[in-house]
């Protein structure tokens, strides 16, 4: 069994444990069962921040070191970040539909900035796909990966900077604004999702490495059957 398989196995067990804890945690007196969505929404949002932060750090490291491993980490982390941003938006929308009475509101700064962040990182992935080779994909996307991370603090602090439907931070230096049982379930799920992130990151970078190795063999095989170019055909 490989190290990645062990990590994925541990992540699966932790996910199951986190699920049991989330479903047995105390519920909010006003929101009722809907407060259980927070055990998914908060960890998914945290992972989006973490993933895009890792993309920025790996992009900086690629610009310094120029090694394929840093570029693969940046790309893999952005892909996982997009997945978890989508989950953050989806779970937030379901919770909003139930508790706020609206699934979506563009006037809410956190929803709007999170949606913007989602589309910018989709653009990051599209930019990589549109690049002709791995080196140009790394060179182009590393710049976007470094610049786009400014959205993370913008999303996080948007509830303090603008009028918002969202509540302010629940965990503050002077204490948490929720009961202990709920807080423990949420923090455990943040830890579980972080473990899932690192397992998926290891698996994704490994797949990228193997695909690059396979692609490196392709031109050599293609060369042998390449038809002659016009200027290579001798005059007869």
């Amino acid at each position: 069994m490989t190290k990645i398989q062990v990590m994925l196995g541990l992540a699966a067990v932790a996910l199951a444990g986190g699920l049991v804890l989330a479903l047995n945690a105390p519920i909010d007196a006003l929101q009722g069962e809907f407060s259980r969505i927070m055990h998914l929404h908060v960890p998914a949002s945290w992972l989006a921040f973490l993933a895009f932060g890792v993309t920025a750090v790996a992009s900086i490291m690629w610009r310094i070191r120029r090694t394929r491993a840093w570029d693969r980490r940046a790309a893999a982390s952005a892909e996982i970040g997009v997945l978890f941003t989508a989950l953050s938006l989806a779970t937030g929308s379901l919770w909003g539909g139930a508790v706020w009475g609206t699934y979506w509101d563009w006037a809410d700064p956190r929803i709007a900035t999170t949606a913007l962040m989602f589309f910018v990182y989709l653009g990051y992935l599209a930019l990589r796909s549109a690049s002709p080779d791995a080196e140009s994909a790394a060179a182009r996307s590393s710049i976007l990966g470094i610049i786009a991370v400014v959205q993370v603090p913008l999303v996080y602090f948007s509830v303090n900077m603008f009028r918002s439907l969202h509540q302010g931070q629940s965990i503050r230096p002077d204490g948490a604004t929720m009961p202990g049982g709920m807080l423990v379930a949420m923090l455990v799920n943040v830890g579980v999702f972080t473990l899932v992130y690192f397992a998926l990151l290891a698996a994704r970078t490994d797949v990228m490495r193997q695909e690059e190795a396979a692609r490196a063999l392709e031109p050599a095989a293609g060369e042998a059957v390449r038809p002659p170019r016009f200027d290579e055909v001798p005059d007869v």
Partner: protein, 36 residues
């Protein structure tokens, strides 16, 4: 957990994570099979 919204949130989240892991598994298998 009887609320459909809550069930939908859990199904979507866990389903997406499992689907992504499965997609990675099949991509990995495809590339290693090609090289064999």
């Amino acid at each position: 957990m009887s609320e459909p919204m809550v069930i939908a949130a859990y199904v979507v989240t866990y389903g997406a994570i499992v689907a992504y892991a499965a997609w990675l598994h099949f991509r990995r298998r495809a590339v290693t099979t090609d090289r064999d």
